[in-house]
């Protein structure tokens, strides 16, 4: 029994980053950086956290992911194994902070679809949604945000009411997260409870020959509904899930266990509240 556990733990540990390969899906044209500010626990106003996110826009498609995921991917995909002097890359790798957002959103890949990949523990899941998810209501309000003339648009999506500010000065029908379909880039978007806010902090044209790529993984194909149920169950019953995969956790008294579970259950405020 112990052997099995150790073997499993060993397997998990060797499955780490080193052997990553990617498939190029587009040429990178523009790199936008957003700051996400979110409240992790809907009942606790002090649980506000923030992270940097990237929107990589290509000729046909785009990719949205956290800056940490981007850095981790690019380091591990660029490690030069022949050269033992990859010291700098390694140090860089260790300096990348962990991310709370492991999902990567590919818009218009494949055509007219959104592809979402996400890692849970050590599994990689993939599912698709249609690209034209959003039926925006354009408002007449306008204001200048980050130096761009922006116009207001509203939408109700997945249980939240959003206010988006987009600019026609950047005629890219794209935005943070899955949001797209406006006649210009979304500069700022937040829900009316202020649980989630994305704000553009930089936009740069890419002159070098960089690609937008998707990691080659053994993806488990699923649907959005199935995936959200799975993820919810995972955090709700993290110990049972770990135990099932061969990692046994014993507590001196089970009140400790309950406390840990409650901690996990406080991650109760996902961006999408309703799923079809």
């Amino acid at each position: 029994m112990k052997k099995i556990i150790y073997t499993l733990i060993f397997l998990i540990s060797i499955l780490k980053v080193y052997s990553q390969n990617t498939t190029d899906i587009d040429n990178l044209k523009y790199k936008c950086k957003y700051i996400i500010t979110y409240q992790a626990d809907s009942t606790n106003i002090n649980s506000i956290e923030s992270e940097e996110m990237l929107l990589l826009i290509g000729e046909r498609s785009s990719k949205f992911l956290s800056l940490s995921s981007f850095l981790r991917d690019s380091i591990s995909n660029n490690i030069d194994r022949e050269n033992t002097n990859s010291i700098n890359l390694m140090t860089l790798f260790q300096s990348v902070p962990k991310t709370k957002f492991k999902d990567k959103i590919f818009k218009n890949y494949p055509k007219d679809k959104i592809t979402i990949t996400e890692q849970v523990l050590k599994d990689y899941f993939i599912y698709e949604e249609p690209l034209n998810l959003f039926k925006w209501n354009i408002k007449n309000d306008s204001k200048i945000i980050s130096g761009y003339n922006c116009q207001k648009a509203t939408i109700n999506y997945a249980g939240r009411d959003y206010i988006a500010w987009f600019t026609n000065e950047i005629p890219l029908s794209d935005g943070p997260y899955k949001f797209n379909g406006l006649p210009g880039l979304i500069i700022k978007i937040n829900d009316t409870n202020n649980h989630y806010e994305y704000k553009l902090v930089s936009l740069k044209e890419q002159k070098t020959n960089n690609k937008i790529a998707i990691n080659k993984k053994d993806y488990i194909k699923t649907t959005k509904k199935e995936f959200y149920i799975l993820k919810k169950e995972f955090y709700k019953n993290i110990f049972k899930k770990l135990e099932q995969s061969g990692i046994s956790i014993n507590f001196e008294n089970s009140s400790q266990k309950n406390d840990v579970l409650n901690k996990y259950r406080k991650r109760n405020n996902p961006i999408e509240l309703e799923n079809k």
Binding site: M1, K3, I4, T7, I9, L11, I12, I14, S19, Y30, I35, E49, T84, I87, M90, Q94, S95, P97, K98, K111, D123, I138, S142, S146, Y148, N149, Q151, N168, I170, P171, L172, S173, G181, P183, L200, V201, S202, L203, K204, K217, D218, Y219, I220, E233, F234, K240, K241, E243, Q244, S245, I249, F251, E252, N253, S254, S255, N258, D259, V260, K263
Partner: protein, 880 residues
């Protein structure tokens, strides 16, 4: 429905918001459709978008205009192309556009970004955020932090993997024995817990060797210098106590933790000084200086469940740990601990030795007293800089154990006394230095141990052998063993493409001396027996080895190959007896491991290895040694050589969507030995060794399977485990050779369910079925069963109530086949005064004895152990 109203409404709306639809196609260059261009409608020269569309794959768009204006402006834009605008009349129409490339740049923007709270690989947990009223010590709080888990023996896991180091203010005071801090440091003294992910404890390797392990660092509150924890408990019956006083001192350059603990409630306090980090645990194996008991009294085999139920102890532990930072990056550490324990064992044992011709039965009533005394100390100097890693540990271990046993053997009383002291010194040095682009590692281990032991038995035993069949008063066995061992190696790491090579060379020298004699006492006359009852043995073992470790990683494949080559020389001499043996050989012990991820659900592993083993000094002495009152052995045999080959095949399936996990392992091993060892059982139950110098073979097949499924609706996990083994070997018993086959099947089940937030239930069982077969003869099948049920209640946030029921059954013993246990635990926390009161009521049904049954290939043993009585313990816990 009023149709006329509806018609009027339609007419009205068409007047007010004369809705026009504009559609068309956007192209570029040679009429290539342009997808994703934005088409917006504004007032003439206006900014506000009234309506918009995005062109589709075919460049086609369509939009509706809700506006009263007669004329409007339509704008088409696409990044990298010149915008086009046109004034149009507000009516249905088709408009096509052809865009032209432009060199105009997009308006770039950079806004100073906000700071991110978490930097680098360090995760900070603020203790106050996790600590609630009832948490006393670090272990309570740690267990609550996401990603951190605390196992039942105190081991800490982060993301499912054991932590590598446990630091206090960045200093590694306890060398892996962190239970002492974790169970005693008040949570209120700690400000932060830091998890250092990808932590490389050796600074020199920090940028060279990637570590995927995490370490933990405790940050204390600024003004904390003296802190600690104490626990007082008392109960009955008889009078029970449980005391723990642990003061601690922390300053910038010095740290000290001292602890005194004592109890007689069955708590094994040696756990407190148990090494828990894997790295430090591996270090212990390398010393090759485990305490070895050459003589013992006949001990009782202990029940295979919680020690708290049967350990009859009276233990005192004193330990102190001191660390001083001499210079930056140069630490001195001293760990000293003294353990004193007095244990009682009562019970009886029925053993049946089965020979092909006969069954010999003996019955023993055992009453043992064990006195355990040990002093362990460790002095460590560590230098850890970016250019050098140096660590030298010097360790001394001293034991002064003794035992007294009284056995009623078939109505005859036999008294045994042993003194089994042991002392050892070890030194270990590890040095890592860069050499060009490579890192070289030098390791040196040196140990010496000595143990003069003796066993005293009254009245006489082995009369036939020792005194021509005449009974005598007493016998005394003296054994003196010394062991010197050194292992020195040199290695470096080199990577090339997908390969990593670690070449290593080294040598070992081991020198052991064994002296023994037997004295018999008859009418106050001592008689030291000569010749075949005296050993004066020297055993030297030396080897020179080289090893190349090759690792290959590519995509889904991972291969690791070890190719160690060893030249060994063995020299065994007994000058008094004029006997000796030399053995020289070259051994090659390759090991191969292959792992492959077939896809997201399936994974496969394969490993194969060959290894040799050679008899050690405890199987090489030429003259008799009495190991216990009914076992006398001599090994007038050549050095045992065995060659073992094994393969393991594993398949793992995991489906996270269905919450189903299955894994299966099959392994086969085959070993060949040059000798067959066996026991000669005499009619009084005493045994001695017999051997055949004949090549013989044994093989084992094992299959392990485990499956687990989580049922979402029932909030329940079901886990089933099966282990099957088939073991085949030749055995020598009373000078005849027999083929023995042992089959065993183990079935384990576990059901875990959370009924509500305030109640949970757990059920576990374990069934073991064993069957042994001689050539034509089969013995009774032994079935052992265990069932365990736990109920937990949390009526309020400061109360906990737990019931625990256990049931054990075996089919073999003639009486006492079943045992039932019931235990209760209640805890109440006074929120303001931060004091915990705990009530433990153990063995409520007052079960007196526990019977275990086990069999070896030639014996059945049924042993009854006297358990701790029903007891009630009340304890109180508070901080300094």
């Amino acid at each position: 429905m009023n149709y006329s109203f509806f018609l009027v409404f339609l007419l009205f709306s068409s007047i007010c918001f004369s809705q026009a639809t504009i559609s068309g196609k956007i192209v570029r260059g040679e009429n290539t459709p342009l997808q994703g261009s934005s088409i917006t409608v504004t007032k003439i020269k206006g900014n506000i978008i009234l309506s918009y569309a995005i062109s589709d794959t075919n460049g086609v768009y369509s939009l509706n205009i809700d506006s009263q204006s007669d004329s409007l402006q339509i704008n088409v834009s696409y990044i990298g192309y010149t915008n086009q605008s046109k004034i149009i009349i507000n009516k249905n129409q088709e408009l096509n556009f052809k865009l032209l490339e432009s060199s105009e740049k997009l308006k770039e923007v950079i806004i100073k970004s906000a700071p991110i709270t978490k930097k680098g690989d360090t995760i900070n947990y603020t203790v106050s955020a996790f600590k609630d009223q009832k948490d006393r010590v670090m272990a309570d709080v740690l267990a609550k932090m996401p990603g951190i888990e605390v196992l039942i023996d105190g081991k800490i896991l982060y993301q499912g993997k054991p932590i590598q180091k446990y630091y206090i203010e960045g200093l590694d005071l306890l060398e892996g024995k962190y239970n002492l801090v974790n169970n005693n440091l008040p949570a209120s003294s700690v400000s932060k817990v830091q998890i250092l992910e990808n932590h490389q404890p050796i600074k020199l390797l920090d940028s060279l060797v990637f570590s995927d392990k995490a370490s933990l660092n405790i940050k204390l509150k600024k003004n904390i210098t003296i802190t600690g924890n104490s626990k007082l408990g008392a109960g009955f019956s008889p009078f029970l106590w449980n005391v723990n006083i642990t003061p601690m001192l922390f300053s910038k350059k010095q740290q000290m933790i001292t602890s005194y603990q004592t109890n007689n409630i069955g708590n094994d306090i040696s756990n407190e000084i148990k090494t828990l980090t894997i790295e430090d645990l591996l270090d212990q194996f390398e010393y090759n200086n485990e305490k070895q008991d050459w003589v013992t009294i006949q001990e009782l085999s202990s029940p295979q469940f919680s020690k708290k139920r049967w350990l009859d102890n009276n233990a005192h532990l004193f330990t102190t740990n001191y660390l001083a930072q001499l210079k930056k990056n140069l630490d001195l550490k001293v760990n000293v601990s003294y353990l004193n324990d007095f244990q009682l064992q009562n019970g009886n044992t029925q053993t049946s030795f089965i020979t092909p011709t006969d069954i010999i039965e003996i019955s023993e009533n055992t009453n043992n007293r064990l006195f355990l005394n040990s002093l362990k100390s460790k002095f460590i100097i560590t230098k850890n800089t970016n250019k050098t890693y140096f660590k030298n540990s010097f360790e001394t271990n001293n034991y002064w154990d003794s035992q007294r046993g009284s056995i009623i053997l078939n109505n005859k009383e036999i008294n045994q006394k042993t003194k089994i002291p042991f002392s050892s010194f070890s030194n270990k040095l590890k040095l890592i230095k860069p050499f060009g682009k490579k890192l070289i590692t030098i390791k040196s281990i040196l140990t010496y141990s000595k143990s003069p032991q003796n066993l005293n038995v009254t009245p006489s035993q082995f009369e036939e052998l020792l005194n021509n069949g005449n009974p005598f008063d007493a016998l005394n066995q003296k054994v003196e063993h010394s062991n010197f061992y050194t292992n020195n190696s040199f290695s470096f790491i080199k990577s090339f493409k997908n390969f990593t090579f670690v070449p290593k060379i080294g040598f070992t020298v081991q020198n052991q001396k064994l002296n023994s004699d037997i004295t018999i006492f008859e009418n106050n006359i001592e008689n030291i027996l000569s010749d075949e009852f005296q050993n004066n043995l020297t055993y030297n073992k030396s080897s020179f080895y080289s090893n190349l470790n090759t690792q290959y990683r590519h995509g889904k494949w991972k291969l690791e190959l070890e190719t160690p080559l060893k030249i060994q020389a063995f020299k065994r001499t007994d000058n008094d007896l004029n006997k000796n043996q030399n053995l020289n050989n070259l051994v090659f012990e390759p090991r191969l491991t292959i792992k492959n991820d077939l896809n997201a659900f399936w994974k496969a592993t394969f490993s194969a290895r060959i290894n040799n083993s050679f008899g050690d000094v405890n199987q090489l002495y030429y003259s008799y040694i009495i190991n216990n009152y009914r076992n006398i052995q001599k090994y007038e045999i050549p050095i045992l050589e065995s060659l073992r080959g094994s393969v393991t095949l594993g398949i793992l399936y995991r489906n996270p969507i269905k919450s189903l996990f299955i894994n299966g392992f099959y392994s086969y091993s085959n070993s060949t030995q040059n000798l067959l060892l066996g026991n000669n059982i005499n009619n009084d139950g005493t045994s001695s060794l017999g051997f055949f110098e004949q090549d013989n073979n044994s093989n084992t097949h094992t299959i392990n399977m485990r499956g687990s499924k989580y049922y979402t609706q029932l909030k329940t996990t079901l886990t089933l485990t099966t282990n099957v083994s088939l073991d085949n070997k030749e055995q020598l018993l009373n000078n005849s050779l027999t083929d023995i086959t042992t089959k065993s099947i183990q079935l384990k089940g576990k059901l875990d369910t959370e009924i509500t937030d305030w109640m949970s239930l757990e059920y576990k069982n374990n069934v073991l079925i064993t069957n042994t077969q001689f050539k034509n003869q089969s013995f009774n099948t032994i079935v052992n069963q265990e069932h365990l049920l736990n109920f937990n209640f949390y009526p309020t946030s400061n109360q906990y109530l737990g019931f625990n029921a256990e049931y054990y059954k075996n089919n073999f013993s003639s009486e006492n086949q079943e045992n039932y246990f019931l235990n209760l635990k209640y805890r109440y926390t006074f929120k303001e005064s931060k004091i915990d009161l705990e009530l433990n009521w153990n063995n409520i049904l007052n079960e007196k004895e526990f019977t275990t049954v086990f069999n070896t290939t030639f014996s059945y043993t049924q042993s009854t152990y006297v358990l701790r009585q029903r007891q009630l313990l009340m304890s109180m816990k508070f901080n300094f």
